[in-house]
């Protein structure tokens, strides 16, 4: 029949691997695509067990899969997103992708032809391209998400992300009755520094200061640039004693840090405000404003000093 001839011809011209197995896992059909990609002639494959031709197949998994197709008489799938490939076949972009084997989408179809034993048809599609670009996209999206969280100049968290972190830490601290401390510091006379050394000098100071402070912090501490020359640190599970210790070390570290800029040495100091969460704080903004007030006190008391939020010292 010509229709059958057409089907055979198409099966051999399709850019899809077509493989039919019987209930004993013996191969009964093998199209040209597979002959070429697996580099095995039909006469060496037909009648052979699929696990001998493809020893890389996960036998137990594969059998359970085929079993479901036979038993439920319904098609099944295997996507590259969960399993990069089933069959170790070469692909068409060996030069321009880093994939070793062809990424595959496989379909398992039950074949019901009258007076015939049960068979399963396996279709193998090359999705190396999709896999390659999807991976690239995923990596780019991750980079983008990261860039969204980071202050471009100082490489610490930006204000938006830092506040989101504080919001989370604040509600967690309230829920579990954990301690939570906040440190905010501001570089003293920064405007003068900018006037003296130019904005380039000011930028170097911000970058170097962020670097020095990052090294002082614990893993769980969250360090962000609050704005201009003001930085802020969230210290989860920390009480006033612990927070004061960190604050003092920050103050000292900044005052001792010598920044080299165009053959001159820049020295800078910082005023530091500290507050811890109290029962009265219902919003994270409360904690920020207490810390900010302490920072203002530090500025008013002559700078290069650590001040504690007032209501806490009174308590």
């Amino acid at each position: 029949m010509p229709a059958d001839d057409f089907c055979t011809d198409i099966a051999n011209k399709l850019n899809t691997g077509i493989l039919i197995i019987d209930s004993q896992y013996n191969i009964v059909l093998w199209n040209r695509y597979l002959e070429v990609h697996a580099n095995k002639k039909p006469e060496n494959v037909i009648g052979q067990n699929i696990f001998e031709i493809f020893p890389e197949l996960p036998e137990k998994w594969f059998k359970r899969k085929i079993e479901s197709v036979f038993q439920l008489k319904t098609q099944s799938f295997c996507s590259w997103e969960q399993r990069h490939h089933l069959f170790e076949l070469p692909h068409t972009r060996p030069m321009t992708t880093d994939s070793h084997f062809m990424a595959q989408n496989c379909s398992f179809l039950p074949l019901e032809i009258k007076d015939n034993n049960e068979h399963v048809c396996i279709l193998i599609e090359d999705v190396t391209d999709v896999c390659h670009y999807q991976s690239k996209l995923k990596k780019t999206l991750e980079e983008l998400a990261q860039a969204n969280r980071i202050d471009g100049l100082t490489q610490v968290f930006n204000r938006k992300h830092w506040e989101e972190c504080l919001e989370k830490e604040f509600s967690r601290a309230r829920r579990y009755k954990h301690g939570l401390a906040l440190i905010m510091f501001d570089l003293d006379h920064f405007k003068l520094l900018n006037d003296t050394y130019g904005h380039l000098g000011g930028d170097i100071v911000l970058i170097e200061t962020a670097k020095v402070i990052s090294k002082l912090l614990r893993l769980g501490d969250l360090f962000g640039r609050y704005g201009g020359e003001e930085f802020a640190i969230i210290l989860p599970n920390t009480d006033m004693v612990g927070a004061l210790d960190v604050a003092e070390r920050i103050r000292v570290a900044i005052s001792k840090n010598i920044i080299n800029f165009q053959e001159t040495e820049i020295k800078v100091t910082a005023s530091v405000g500290v507050a811890v969460i109290t029962e009265a704080d219902t919003r994270y903004e409360d904690l920020i404003s207490h810390t900010d007030l302490a920072l203002y006190d530090a500025k008013a008391s002559g700078r290069n000093i650590v001040c504690v939020a007032k209501d806490v010292t009174a308590a």
Partner: protein, 202 residues
């Protein structure tokens, strides 16, 4: 819009076809998984795009949502969404008879979803003298991303859909899964034609 609504007889007929499909699918499933599947009366309702979004958002704490498209003769087509609760996902490997380290949770969920969807729809199709084809199942939301992230970015090309919700309860594993079939506006008319043909025989 009124021609998209099912009348009482049509709704009843569809419900009964779904009942039978659900029964036979559960039987196959119970044999395959070697367990008992508890059946509840399925719900059928007309939903708008907005209420779909709301429903999916209220399922925010689902562990996973898997989508699989289906299409048959006479323009019967739609999309099946399978939704799982987080606490259930660790029982899946057990249920499917896989070794725990043999495959990822995601793969297990996709496998089970495909089995649930295709066994049900195969019986459904048989009753209306139809035959279904399926697209590969896709994980829309898992541990990595929320379903709303996925949907918020797209505009829908339909306003109304027929929503069929079926709850599978596998007793031995106290495991739950909701299967929701969405039949888009343009396919509802086709379903109605088929239902009317069946009703005529009565």
């Amino acid at each position: 819009m009124s021609d998209l609504n099912l009348n009482e007889d049509q709704q009843d007929c569809l419900q009964e076809i779904i009942n039978v499909a659900m029964g036979q699918a559960s039987d196959q499933l119970a044999r395959y998984l070697n367990t008992f599947v508890y059946l509840k009366v399925p719900s059928i309702e007309q939903v708008s795009t907005i209420s779909l979004l709301n429903m999916l958002n209220s399922n925010e704490n689902s562990a996973a949502v898997v989508s699989q498209g289906f299409f048959g003769y006479e323009g019967i087509r739609g999309e099946a969404l399978l939704m799982y609760k987080p606490k259930d996902s660790d029982r899946l490997a057990d249920l499917l008879g896989y070794e725990p380290d043999e495959l990822s949770v995601e793969e297990q969920i996709i496998d089970l979803s495909s089995i649930l969807t295709t066994t049900f729809l195969n019986v459904f199709a048989k009753q209306i003298d139809n035959q279904m084809s399926y697209s590969a199942p896709r994980l829309l939301a898992g541990s990595q991303s929320a379903i709303s992230d996925h949907l918020a970015q797209q505009s829908f090309n339909w306003d109304l859909a027929l929503k069929v919700k079926i709850t599978y309860q596998v007793t031995d594993y106290s495991f739950n899964c909701d299967m929701v079939l969405f039949i888009p506006e343009s396919a509802i008319i086709n379903i109605k034609t088929v239902i009317d043909r069946i009703l005529e025989e009565f």
